[in-house]
Each structure stands twice: as C-alpha cells, then as structure tokens.
C-alpha cells in the first residue's frame, strides 16, 4: 500500500496541525503519512508532532515544498 499524501501547503497555522492530526487519525499505529508543507509551517508542525509522540522518519524537498514522512506513534 502506498503511503497516503496530505497536502497542507495552502493552509496556515493552526489549520496545518489540525489537518495533520486528522490525517494521522486515519492511519493505523506505526503506519505512515506523507505531509507536503511549506517552510513556514515546518517548525510548528514538527514540534506538535514530536509533542504528540509521532516521529518524522524522512524529509525530502521539492523546491520550496517539504515532504515529511510521519510515523504515527501511540496506540
């Protein structure tokens, strides 16, 4: 199964994190979600993810857009 992709490049804080949170709810524990986001959103999204026990397992970049591979933590 391919990892689902969530695009939040058009969102601003706090919608960015709300969408990531909702996206992760659809993923099974230890499952993965790819998130496309802009540089401005990096700090807040990553710090919230870390705070909620998820992990960023890979980071890639397409010009100004970052793609985070997020592994859902917890149960």
């Amino acid at each position: 199964m391919t990892t689902p992709m969530l695009d939040i490049t058009k969102d601003v804080c706090p919608m960015t994190f709300v969408k990531v949170k909702m996206g992760l709810q659809k993923v099974a524990p230890s499952g993965k979600l790819n998130v496309r986001l802009k540089e401005e959103a990096l700090k807040n999204v990553i710090s919230s993810l870390k705070g909620e026990g998820h992990r960023v397992t890979n980071v890639s970049r397409e010009d100004a857009v970052y793609i985070l591979e997020v592994e859902r933590g917890g149960s």
Binding site: E39, L42, K43, I46, S47, K50, R55, V56, N58, V59, R61, Y66, L68
Partner: protein, 291 residues
C-alpha cells in the same frame, strides 16, 4: 517651596505637576505585578488623596495624580501597611520591568518576574550618574523590549548539534530566522554562527531527529539602550549567563562600571560610546573571575 526641596521630593517619587501645589505620586511596582490587596489600597488612596484615578506609566508603573502637597506624607503612610512603597525618580536605578515569564507564558525561557524581584531587591533606588532602567523579557520574543533599557535581559536558548541521528534533512537551516545555521556539505555537521543566533531555540524544536539539543537555557544581557529624545538600542554583551545569581552579579558589575566611568546626566549608552563596550565586558568578566 525651594527648588532643592522639589528635587528631594522628586527623588522620592513625588512628581511636581503642571498645576502648582499638585503632585503625581509614583508607586513602587516590580515587573508590573500588584496583588489585589495592593490594588485595593491604591484605589482607596487615589479616592482619598487624589481625584479617584491612577495613571499607568509606559514602564509598568502606577502613579496617583492630583495629590495636594499637604497630603503627600499622609498618602505614603496610608499605603505602607499594604506593602505599596513610593517610587523613585532622578539619577537612580528605576522601575524594573518584566513580562510574565515561563511560569505563565508558554514561550518563556526564564522566570522573568523572579529575576525582576531579585534585581529590584539589590538595586532599586540606588544612586547612579543618570537614570538607569532594567527590563526583562522571558524569551527572545522580547515583549519588554530589552534593548530599550540601560540593562536589558532576555531569556535565551543556545542550541548544540549533538551529532546523534542527524539525517541531514536541512530543516534546522530552513527554520532558523536569522540564517545562523549553515551546512557546509554532505556528511558535515551544521555550523551555528553564535553572532547571528538570537537564542530562539526554533532549530531545537523543529529538528525531527532530536539531534539539536539545548546547550544552555539562560539569560542574555544587553547594555546601553535608551529611548527618549535620541533613541539607541542596547548591545548584547557577554555569553549566555546560566543562573539568576550570575545575572544579578553581572548587573551589579555593570552598575559599578557606570558609577566608575559615567558622568553626571550622561546616560549609560553615551558612557559606553566613550569607553567602548569591550571595556564594560572586561570589567564584568574581571569581577566574575575574582574568587
């Protein structure tokens, strides 16, 4: 009344008003914090001795305006039992301002009200060549505008690259607001330019791998700032100070330097323009090094 007597009153926080015979009484407030009991006493004092109003000053102070000269002593006595002291003016260490700090504000790196209380306890009202203001911001968001003060302090987070698990993702470099982080090349550790770093800690928060850690969470001192007619922003001196005690000691050394080198009616920033900031740093470091 003689001019000399007015001067004495002013030093004690009684400010002569435009209208003859009336005074605006400056109260002693530390870091903008007052208890409800104190507020009650201030309210009652303003009703009894003034015209039922107070003025909130630009530096978190409270003044009771429109107090007749004959009531000044009585007003002071009235406020004393509730722990409200009368303020200061003239060539002294003035009101210490502070934000709510880490106990209240989620962004806070230091307990600014606690440091304000310590600085106030040690130095408030002490004589110096010219007025001397201290302001404390709990973090680099700088709500208190540290650089506008003769001695400004900011909560500061200094990052360190631990090397562990770094994936070279480049996020630290991307989030740094001052471009203080650069990565020289593949497999090489990111370099943090300490001159450019503003101590925000964003890189630590954003690093997905937890590679960037807090080296120090402490206090950063800025010297020589002022506003008024000719504004001047204070400059950062020394490294990151680790404890409240170390910071109070540094402020003591700064004040001592001002007393040694400042001329009467010369603001600290102007003194530093003459002596150079390096001389101040050398003086403060000399104090620290002493056993």
């Amino acid at each position: 009344m003689k001019e000399a007597d007015y001067k004495e009153l002013k030093k004690g926080g009684m400010m002569r008003q435009a209208e003859a015979g009336l005074f605006s009484v400056r109260l002693h407030v530390v870091g903008g914090r007052l208890g409800t009991r104190q507020l009650e006493a201030i309210r009652e004092a303003a009703d009894r001795f003034g015209r039922g109003e107070v003025h909130l000053t630009s530096r978190q102070g409270v003044e009771i305006p429109n107090v007749p000269q004959g009531s000044l002593a009585e007003l002071k006595e009235f406020l004393a039992p509730s722990g409200v002291g009368v303020g200061v003016c003239g060539p002294t260490v003035r009101t210490v301002t502070a934000c709510q700090g880490c106990r209240v504000c989620p962004s806070g790196a230091i307990d600014s009200p606690a440091l304000a209380a310590a600085v106030d306890r040690e130095f408030y009202g002490k004589p110096v060549p010219h007025k001397f203001k201290v302001g404390i911001s709990g973090c680099v968001n700088n709500c208190i505008k540290a650089e506008e003060n003769d001695a400004g302090i900011k909560g500061w987070i200094e990052p360190r690259w631990s090397g562990e698990d770094c994936t070279e993702c480049g996020i630290c470099e991307a989030v740094c607001p001052t471009k203080a982080i650069s990565r020289p090349g593949k497999g090489m550790q990111p370099v943090i330019d300490r001159e450019l770093c503003i101590g925000c800690g964003d890189c630590i928060v954003a690093c997905p791998a937890g590679t960037l850690r807090e080296e120090v969470r402490g206090f950063r001192l800025f010297a020589g700032g002022k506003f008024g007619r000719v504004p001047f922003l204070g400059k950062r001196i020394l490294g990151v100070l680790k404890t409240e005690a170390e910071t109070v000691a540094a402020v003591a050394a700064v004040l001592e330097f001002f007393r040694l080198h400042g001329k009467p009616r010369e603001r600290f920033g102007d003194t530093l323009k003459r002596t150079g900031f390096e001389a101040l740093e050398a003086h403060v470091l000399g104090k620290e090094a002493r056993p």
